[in-house]
């Protein structure tokens, strides 16, 4: 167990250090999300009531697209200098590597969300009519849902031609229930009309199911030859 967590921590620390020095993923994600916000604000000219209804959708679509930018680099980065092959022959457990990668992506996307959310609130004059604290579990669980499947599918898509296109094609259909839960949960909190509880429960279920499935199958994917 100590091996498990120390490898996870080492891999996570390596990814964070790399990101801290290059800032590739976070910069591209931030600029991409900013572009989406600006384009959306031109496309829709909503009043307060309207924006409350559609903001949940806009914000999560922007984050989902931006997350794909970072997820695409996760494993592609390890192909250079045959790092991935080194992982394969090392006795380290595949799952600890996967967890390290997924946690790293989770942190990057959370940083993106923390920076972009104030901008969204500013652009769309948002004010929650429901219990605003519920946005935190929705954001955390929703981000994990995107990131855990995204990290897994990124590992699948590096085995294909034109992998950059492949990742969203695999990730989006499977993420529809999670995306629906995030969007509807956020809209429920902002609108204050419905309860977001069911959506949070759905996100928890989704996260549990797909985290277990990923941990169960990742070793097969990593060692496939």
């Amino acid at each position: 167990m100590s091996l498990f967590s120390s490898i996870t921590a080492a891999s996570l620390a390596k990814d964070i250090r790399l990101e801290w020095r290059s800032k590739d993923a976070i910069n591209s994600m931030l600029f991409f999300a900013l572009l989406v916000v600006v384009v959306f604000s031109f496309s829709f000219d909503p009043n307060a009531e309207e924006s409350r209804r559609i903001a949940g959708g806009l914000i999560w679509v922007a984050f989902l697209f931006a997350a794909v930018v970072a997820l695409n680099q996760t494993w592609a980065r390890e192909l250079r200098n045959q790092v991935l092959d080194a992982y394969r022959v090392s006795p380290a457990s595949a799952n600890s590597l996967f967890l390290g990668k997924a946690l790293g992506n989770f942190i990057f996307v959370c940083v993106l969300e923390a920076l972009m959310t104030p901008l969204f609130i500013l652009f769309y004059n948002l004010r929650a009519l429901g219990p605003a604290w519920q946005l935190i579990p929705i954001a955390v669980l929703g981000t994990w849902a995107i990131v855990v499947n995204g990290t897994f599918f990124a590992a699948l898509s590096i085995r294909t031609r034109s992998r950059e296109i492949m990742l969203p094609l695999l990730l989006f259909p499977i993420s529809i229930p999670a995306l629906l839960a995030m969007v509807q949960g956020t809209a429920a909190v902002l609108g204050g009309e419905f309860s977001a509880r069911f959506w949070i429960a759905l996100l928890v279920t989704y996260d549990v199911v797909f985290t277990i499935a990923s941990l169960f199958l990742f070793e097969t994917v990593l060692h496939a030859e």
Binding site: N149, F152, F153, L156, R159, T160, R161, S162, M166, L169, L170, F172, P173, I174, I176, P177, A178, L180, A181, Q184, F194, F198, W199, L202, T205, Y206, V209, F210, A213, L217, T220, V221, A224, E225
Partner: protein, 230 residues
């Protein structure tokens, strides 16, 4: 086995013809919807057939992950391909029926409609993955995605089921008794469609096995023949 194929084909053709006659002429006309309702026999039969094929894909994918048998991989591929064809029929006939009956082509809040669309999207992404990955790892990657897709199905259903309760929904002729003669025609059509699907799967299975044999032989030949010997 090979001789059975044309016989099975002939039986399927006869069954499809008879089912068509039963659905279009013999079945009673529905009181409120009229003849439009007859599309129901194709719509529902295709849906059930597609779901069975997707289930076959799921089981075959798990068998592949456990045993690594190539046969299971071919069956999974065939199940997904033919399943997508039948699922497309469902998605085309659904709006054709909905337009005159509900007055709209598409109802985003309807559980079965939207779940079927998401199911279709998942299996199309499965087929795209298979197309884009040309390496020897294709079967494994595809089997893993099939497992993820199947796990997603109940979540899709529940999320849309709850989504619906917050949205206005079209009036669906849900519940209520179905005329036993209609049920009879529906089951007959389902049988005919299942036979048709089995026929397609059979042909596609043989084609895929042959294609793999040819690929293997070509690869071997290119190994045996030194370069420039031709």
């Amino acid at each position: 086995m090979k001789r059975l194929f044309p016989i099975f084909g002939a039986i399927t053709t006869a069954l499809l013809g008879f089912a068509l006659y039963e659905a279009l002429i013999a079945a009673p006309t529905e009181q409120t919807m009229g003849n439009v309702q007859r599309i129901f026999y194709y719509h529902v039969s295709s849906a059930w057939t597609a779901f069975i094929l997707f289930a076959i894909n799921f089981v075959a994918s798990i068998v592949y992950l456990v045993k690594r048998s190539e046969k299971a991989d071919v069956i999974a591929l065939v199940g997904a391909e033919v399943g997508v064809v039948f699922c497309t029929v469902v998605l085309v006939t659904g709006p054709l029926w909905a337009r005159p009956v509900w007055g709209i082509w598409w109802a985003p809040g309807d559980v079965r409609l939207t779940s079927t669309l998401v199911l279709w999207l998942i299996y199309v992404s499965y087929l795209i993955l298979r197309r884009f990955s040309s390496s020897g790892q294709t079967p494994m990657i595809a089997a893993v995605l099939a497992v993820f897709g199947a796990l997603d199905v109940p979540l899709v259903y529940f999320s849309i089921w709850f989504f619906r309760t917050q949205h206005p929904q079209p009036v669906i002729g849900d519940g209520g008794a179905i005329d036993p003669r209609m049920m009879h025609v529906l089951l007959l059509n389902w049988l005919a469609f299942s036979c048709f699907a089995a026929l397609l799967c059979w042909a596609r299975y043989r084609l895929e096995v042959l294609r793999r044999d040819v690929d293997e032989t070509l690869a071997l030949e290119s190994l045996l023949e030194p370069r420039g010997s031709r």
